[in-house]
């Protein structure tokens, strides 16, 4: 009994410390600034952005693609690790689920920021045409949001019941809410059976849904006549890239939460070692697709391809391109291949590097291609040859990132980020040497 009490005390949601309050306030301020900037954009029009008739998709779209990619972490860690029965996943799955939920919700919101006429959103439903890849996105994103929410929610049920009991004396109000959301969980065999079955179905469901989501996102680009997009590589390229972005984000968030909530006993170096191996695996797969995308076209040297690639290798986006390739891919691979590199602190920095690299990677996929159309950009003002986001675009984009972090922070504040029931069961199982069914 003693053991389970410390467990609950350790894992139950904790109030913010001073740092937590500062962190949350900062996020709220950034979010509000972004909302103000967006309202201003709605009033004045997208003229407040630095987009033009050539670079007509900028960081709004690349930020959207980044969110979609990062939301893949739920599918890749939770479901894949679950189905392959990797037991080390227990303390990190819920964090992955939370990241997925936050990112896919923000993806759904950010895509609207890029709309010239957000007031006509309903036209997508009134006049929607199945031929258009945008409609595919309209279908898959809400589907994925629902699946992600369920994947977060169902495994939470027993923990919510535990928290209801835990907080019944200290925070009766909070306890009541936990009780409501726990759906009268008693832990009976019947309930357990239904819950296990449901989780299993969703864990299987999220894999094709995740793959479709990433692929549809890739098809948004590869269905168009554009050099750098018109490639059969895109689907797999996006899926592997999403794994990198997702696991990178997971590593970073896990490190921060572990530190903030003092979970060193639950998320150990062993888990970081495993996560590191997982991240390096995704990076290696992504490297393979990057070689396909950036090196192989050089062999046939089609003029348009080479112009596009040279634009990246040595043109105006070269510093960014090399930062993304070396910082976001090569360095993480080298560091993570060594055991010392898979210790928590280096992993945190590598994770951060991977996330920043992944964000800029999406920018490099979206914008340089637009600046290399088939017919040269001529007879237009000088500024149309370049694109760099405006203040409005930056403020709004940072706000969307802040909102995603805010959702994560909020969920971390009120949910047990490490599954309590499951950890207890596992500890029990190790004691009695019985294998635990997933």
């Amino acid at each position: 009994m003693k053991a389970s009490d410390t467990l609950i005390n350790d894992l139950a949601p904790q109030k913010f410390g001073r740092k937590g309050v500062i962190w949350t306030t900062a996020l709220i301020i950034i979010s509000i600034a972004g909302i103000i900037a967006y309202i201003d954009q709605v009033i004045k029009g997208q003229v407040v952005t630095n987009m033009n008739d050539y670079a007509l998709w900028g960081i709004y779209i690349s930020n959207f693609v980044f969110f979609v990619a990062t939301s893949f972490v739920g599918a890749v860690t939770v479901a894949v690790l679950r189905l392959t029965d990797n037991a080390w996943r227990t303390p990190i799955v819920r964090i992955a689920e939370i990241i997925s939920v936050a990112c896919i919700i923000m993806a759904g919101l950010t895509i609207m920021i890029d709309m010239g006429r957000p007031d006509r959103l309903m036209n997508l439903f009134i006049h929607g045409r199945m031929q258009s890849p945008i409609i595919w996105d309209v279908i898959i994103i809400p589907t994925y949001i629902v699946i992600c929410l369920l994947l977060l929610y169902f495994p939470l049920l027993p923990d919510l019941a535990i928290l209801k009991k835990h907080f019944s004396q200290t925070h009766p109000k909070l306890s009541k809410w936990y009780g409501k959301f726990s759906l009268n969980w008693t832990g009976s065999d019947k309930q357990k059976k239904i819950q296990l079955k449901s989780i299993h179905i969703i864990a299987i469901l999220i894999i094709p849904a995740g793959f479709i989501l990433q692929t549809v996102d890739a098809w948004l680009f590869s269905t168009l006549f554009r050099v750098g997009w018109d490639s059969t590589n895109m689907g797999a390229y996006f899926i592997s890239g999403a794994s990198v972005a997702g696991v990178g984000a997971l590593v970073t968030v896990v490190y921060v939460i572990r530190k903030a909530n003092k979970l060193e006993n639950y998320i150990t170096e062993y888990h970081f070692d495993k996560l590191g191996k997982f991240l390096v695996l995704t990076c290696l797969i992504y490297l393979y697709f990057n070689i396909n995308e950036y090196v192989i076209p050089e062999f046939t040297s089609k003029k348009e391809e080479v112009t596009h690639l040279n634009h990246l290798y040595s043109g105006q986006y070269a510093p960014l391109f090399w930062f993304v390739i070396i910082g976001g891919l090569v360095i993480p691979i080298i560091v993570l291949l060594f055991k010392k590199g898979r210790k928590p602190l280096p992993m945190f920095y590598i994770g951060l590097l991977v996330v920043v690299g992944s964000w800029w990677k999406r920018f490099l996929i979206v914008t340089p291609t637009l600046l290399q159309p088939f017919l040269p950009i001529q007879g237009v003002p000088e500024s149309w040859h370049h694109y760099f986001p405006s203040i409005h675009e930056w403020v709004i984009t940072f706000a969307t990132l802040a909102m995603a972090l805010l959702i994560i922070t909020f969920l971390v504040r009120y949910l047990p980020i490490i599954p309590i029931q499951r950890t207890a069961d596992e500890q029990e199982a190790t004691k009695t040497n019985k294998p635990l069914s997933s």
Binding site: G116, I134, F225, P376, P381
Partner: protein, 327 residues
């Protein structure tokens, strides 16, 4: 309704187009005097008689119901989806005659109330290979038969009509800009911000004129269906002093630049007509006649405003010309 009446020889082709088109005007816009005269079509008489002057100068008395209400008759977004019956519009641009006079650009901009930098018709300076001599390429929307923009549009705001024209309904457009990225010819432009002229509702909106434009929606060259309905050439074709732009009906195999009328298929055969980026499979309805036996040296095209010239300053051939002191 098919009106196959044609005129012979080298008479003014606008007249020809008018007669060819008028039958459709009566179908879509409601009433058309000339079409009634040409087709002898029966219409309900209102009893009220009106005296009008015909294009050849005769005064006739007709029933008020038979009067062509154009241009007052506005083609609504719904009507604009149908297209002009029995027509298949095609454009042929003779590159050997273009000297970048920019009259097509200006005519188009004036008619569509566009700003300086918003050009449905762009004139590009092209060079096919290192040895090739540079030439001017006027580039409208190609009104493809396999239009990628129509495929990707999530709401059907951009659509392909039976007469081959691709239009945009700016009352349905949500501004996702997907169509702009899908166009391999960079034919589309976007209204990034609000402009005062958008509020001028004196002319009711029609996708056929794209006036008044709306913020956050897409625009592009429309082949001027409002002019076609009146039997006139698109503004670019009629403003070109060199007769570079031929326009006509593929069904009737005839195109005209306003002064000269020729068989479309013969013109393409004789002059080696081609379509831009044929290999993409978009099947454009704009053909080019190669820039051979030029009427003007390419340098003549540099006789434009400093500001316009400045827009071409990054083009390799312009840099070369500058070094040679030709500019």
């Amino acid at each position: 309704m098919a009106n196959k009446k044609t005129e012979n020889g080298s008479e003014n082709r606008r007249n020809f187009l008018r007669l060819g088109l008028m039958s459709s005007v009566s179908a879509v816009a409601g009433a058309s005097l000339i079409s009634n005269l040409a087709t002898g079509e029966e219409k309900k008489a209102s009893g009220e008689k009106v005296r009008v002057l015909t294009p050849d100068g005769k005064m006739v008395e007709v029933d008020a119901e038979s009067i062509n209400n154009y241009p007052e008759a506005v083609i609504t977004p719904e009507e604009s989806r149908k297209g002009i019956p029995d027509k298949k519009f095609v454009m042929v641009i003779d590159l050997s005659k273009c000297k970048n006079a920019r009259k097509c650009v200006e005519g188009c901009q004036k008619a569509h109330k566009l700003d300086d930098h918003q050009e449905f018709m762009k004139v590009q300076l092209m060079q096919n290979n290192e040895e090739g001599s540079p030439y001017w390429l006027p580039k409208p929307c190609f009104h493809c038969d396999e239009p990628p923009c129509v495929t990707v549009c999530p709401t059907g705001a951009t659509f392909k009509r039976d007469d081959g024209i691709v239009l945009i309904d700016n009352e349905r457009c949500i501004g996702c800009k997907f169509c702009i990225t899908s166009c391999p010819y960079s034919a589309r432009t976007f209204n990034w911000g609000h402009k005062e002229k958008f509020d001028d509702k004196s002319q009711p909106y029609s996708p056929e004129t794209q006036v008044p434009a709306a913020e956050g929606t897409v625009m592009k060259c429309d082949f001027c269906p409002d002019m076609l309905r009146q039997g006139k050439l698109p503004y670019c074709a009629s403003s070109c002093p060199m007769g570079v732009i031929y326009f006509g009906d593929k069904n009737e195999d005839i195109v005209t630049n306003g002064t000269e009328t020729v068989s479309f298929s013969q013109l393409i055969k004789d002059r080696g007509g081609y379509r831009h980026l044929e290999h993409l499979g978009t099947k454009p309805n704009v053909y080019y006649l190669p820039a051979v036996n030029r009427q003007f040296p390419v340098e003549r095209g540099f006789d434009v405003d400093e500001e316009i010239l400045d827009r071409y300053k990054d083009v390799p051939i312009v840099k070369e010309f500058k070094e040679q002191g030709k500019l």
